[in-house]
Amino acid sequence: MRRSMLFLPGNNPNMLINGSCLGADAVIFDLEDAVSPAEKDAARILVRNTMRYMDFRGCERIVRVNAVDTPYFAADLEAILPEGPDMLLLPKAGTAAEVQAADAAMTQAEERLGLQKRAALMPLIETALGVENAFAIAACCPRVEALFLGAEDLTADLQCKRTKGGREIEYARTRLVMAARAAGTEVYDTPFTDVNDDEGIEADAALAKALGFSGKSSISPRHVEVINRVFSPSPEEIRYAYEVMDAIAEAKAQGKGAIALHGKMVDAPIVSRAQRTIAMAQALGISREVTA
């Protein structure tokens, strides 16, 4: 479950050491945009040590490495992979070939270092080319478990202004959700960048959820709680999910095929959605009684 993913600047000890208690389901140690070229080495070693010595207590650990075509990429893999990251976020993913190259480099490094755990890969789609190749990228290798939308770089590439309303990224958002779901992967939304706009983040997160995103990233700890709330199932959703499962059980007991609930047919997609909702509620420790 990754409702929220929080970016932590890779060369900032104060943020890194406190990253696990800021409420996010996953943290993204950032070695790319948050780190100046002169400090790439320092951030890489600092993030490596943070991962090695700090307990992140159930918080998933993702690392945004530098792009495949930079001189930093190989060194990033070398330092980070032995620490067992759950995922690498791969910036500027434009084509399936680039992502496959990253996958091959990871496999090579893992073999050379004798690593058991394989880190997943999450291409960061932040160019027009990446958006157009989204499905091919999502489906290019088993290591890709999710797509991630980066709207700041994308709007620069599109030569348009990034706005709070987000009309300019509507296409990219729906396209990414479509591509990721078609390829059977998860998909995560771009951060909302106005740290002080509490209503804005709520609306933006709700939109992302409505479009089908699995979760949303954040550059501010202040946004984490709102994102978690928006991407958690509501009590009504949980209650309905249990009703669906009850109806199914009852129908099975009576040997009925078709089932209706509140006058609506319960079909396979409704059942699988109910199962997902219940699984998430259980993971969040929300019991059925609480929603009753």
Binding site: N12, P13, N14, I17, K40, D41, A42, I45, L46, R48, N49, T50, R52, Y53, M54
Partner: protein, 89 residues
């Protein structure tokens, strides 16, 4: 061992440490300033010594200005300074 040039790493921000390293003859000298000197001064010195040993640095003068950095941060800053001093980064 590679030759060492003067180098530095880290910052003076809270929870960070600033580390300077330069060549020296005659072993390791550590100059430590810390906001938690009374409580963690010895631990910090041991850590610095340990990192230098791991990186096979036998002669160096190291200055650490600690702003309450955790052990893993001090380790990172010392290692970065050494690697920079050796021209590895």
């Amino acid at each position: 061992m590679d030759s060492l040039r003067p180098a530095s790493a880290g910052t003076l921000e809270s929870s960070d440490a600033y580390v300077e390293i330069e060549p020296s003859e005659g072993g390791i000298q550590i100059h430590l300033e810390s906001v938690v000197l009374e409580r963690f001064g010895e631990a910090i010195r041991e850590t610095v010594q340990e990192v230098l040993e791991e990186l096979h640095v036998a002669d160096a003068c190291v200055r650490v200005v600690d702003r309450g950095a955790l052990d893993c941060v001090i380790r990172a800053r010392v290692e970065t300074a050494v690697r920079r001093g050796r021209g590895e980064c």
